[in-house]
Amino acid sequence: MPLVSTNRLHKFFGKNHVLRGIKLDVEEGEVVTIVGRSGSGKSTLLRTLNGLESIDDGIIEVDGAKLEVDCADAASLRALRLKVGMVFQQFNLFPHLSAGQNVMLAPQVVKGTAKSETEDIARRMLERVGLAEKFDAFPDQLSGGQQQRVAVARAIVNDPVIILGDEPTGNLDSRTAEEIMALFQDLNSAGKTVILVTHEQDIAEHCKRIIRFRDGHIISDEKVASPADARQILAKMPAGDEMVTHV
């Protein structure tokens, strides 16, 4: 059984037929990237995987949580979203909350975990992304790379099986991008399946599988023999001031 499986997936924006019958299976432990021209529907596909976009036909199944066209009720959407974490190009941290509170919010509100416990969880998550000391910092006091780390910590706090990233390195300089890729690779080693959308070839080369997209179709789907290792690349890069940490 694949971890993620979509079949006959169709999506329209008005008359714009954006996804044209996508069939995609992703196995547990993969790191998949979706590449393709601007407007080809990469983000839309990614966003259907956690119900951020509704679908007009087809079926999505993630680790047993199903979304179909006519039964996208609140309960199945919630079940799906608890299995999927997402990271954005613009980070989208909650600006009125500290880094720690950003991470704590979901367990507290969604799962009803006690506050003392969520604080421990949040500290652990921030430690995992190398930002333990920024627990009380607000998003506007953090660099782009640090914000994206907090976003990753927030995305994994519900312990999802999959992490989606829509151009998660698109707003970062190349060293910081490499650090975020190292983080994704670490998470993958720790058992998470990762699906990224990117524009950048060198980012795509970090992934185990590259899917090319054009006009709402998958036009190629290849395994990468030896994906680039972000930590090795970082080791060869001139030192930055952000510390790289271990998951």
Partner: protein, 216 residues
């Protein structure tokens, strides 16, 4: 003829001013609470409440406050309801305030970036959880300055209730002006009264606006 000392004039105006302040507070507090409900209905997913909220807003924004008060005051008495001036004034201003605040606040909610909705959706939060923990706190911060600014409009709006006979500052002023034959003095004092009520508010609104531009 009775003669009025300056103190008599000021004393009466102070009583009128106190009623103006009280009416403003009542209108603002009740109007704010009602406005919050109208806002939630207006931006919510349910069709009927949304349409009702929209009608409420358009009705009270699209007609003069004076006519709203007349309609309440004279209209309800047609149904045999004897509405005292204070009640019509309070009710009218509350409804007026609720419509404007709902619309101001809707602008603030819509100014919260879409990414905030998306990020909180991804965490499996429900609509109300998103509202309560993510959207409203940010919208509230945006709304402080325009809300305080609108409070000034409410204070000045209370003057209209003098027409239906509510003895707030303006009404008191016109009664004293008629009795003393010193309209210039009296109305100058009335204007000063409004200024004393409004100036701190508008000053506060401006400084808030500056502060919020500077801070996060």
């Amino acid at each position: 003829m009775m003669s009025f000392s300056l103190w008599d004039i000021v004393r009466n105006l102070l009583i009128g001013g106190a009623l103006t302040l009280l009416l403003s507070l009542v209108a603002f507090v009740l109007g704010g609470a009602t406005g919050m409900l109208v806002l939630l209905a207006r931006i919510g997913k349910w069709r009927a409440p949304r349409a009702l909220a929209q009608m409420h807003i358009e009705l009270f924004q699209g007609t003069p406050l004076l006519l709203q008060l007349f309609t309440l005051f004279f209209g309800l008495s047609l149904f045999g309801l004897d509405v005292p001036a204070w009640l019509a004034a309070g009710l009218g201003l509350t409804l007026f305030t609720s419509a404007f605040l709902a619309e101001i606040w809707r602008g603030c909610v819509e100014a919260v970036p879409r990414g905030q909705w998306e990020a909180s959706s991804c965490l499996a939060m429900t609509y109300w959880e998103q509202m309560r923990h993510v959207i409203l706190p940010q919208a509230m911060r945006l709304s402080i300055a325009p809300t305080v600014g609108f409070a000034v409009q409410v204070v000045k709006g209370t003057a209209v209730t003098s027409i239906i006979g509510f003895a707030e500052l303006t009404k008191t002023g016109s009664m004293i002006a008629n009795a003393t034959y010193q309209p210039f003095l009296v109305y100058s004092l009335v204007a000063l009264g409004y200024f004393i009520l409004c100036y701190p508010l508008s000053h506060y609104a401006q400084s808030l606006e500056r502060k919020l531009h500077a801070a996060r």
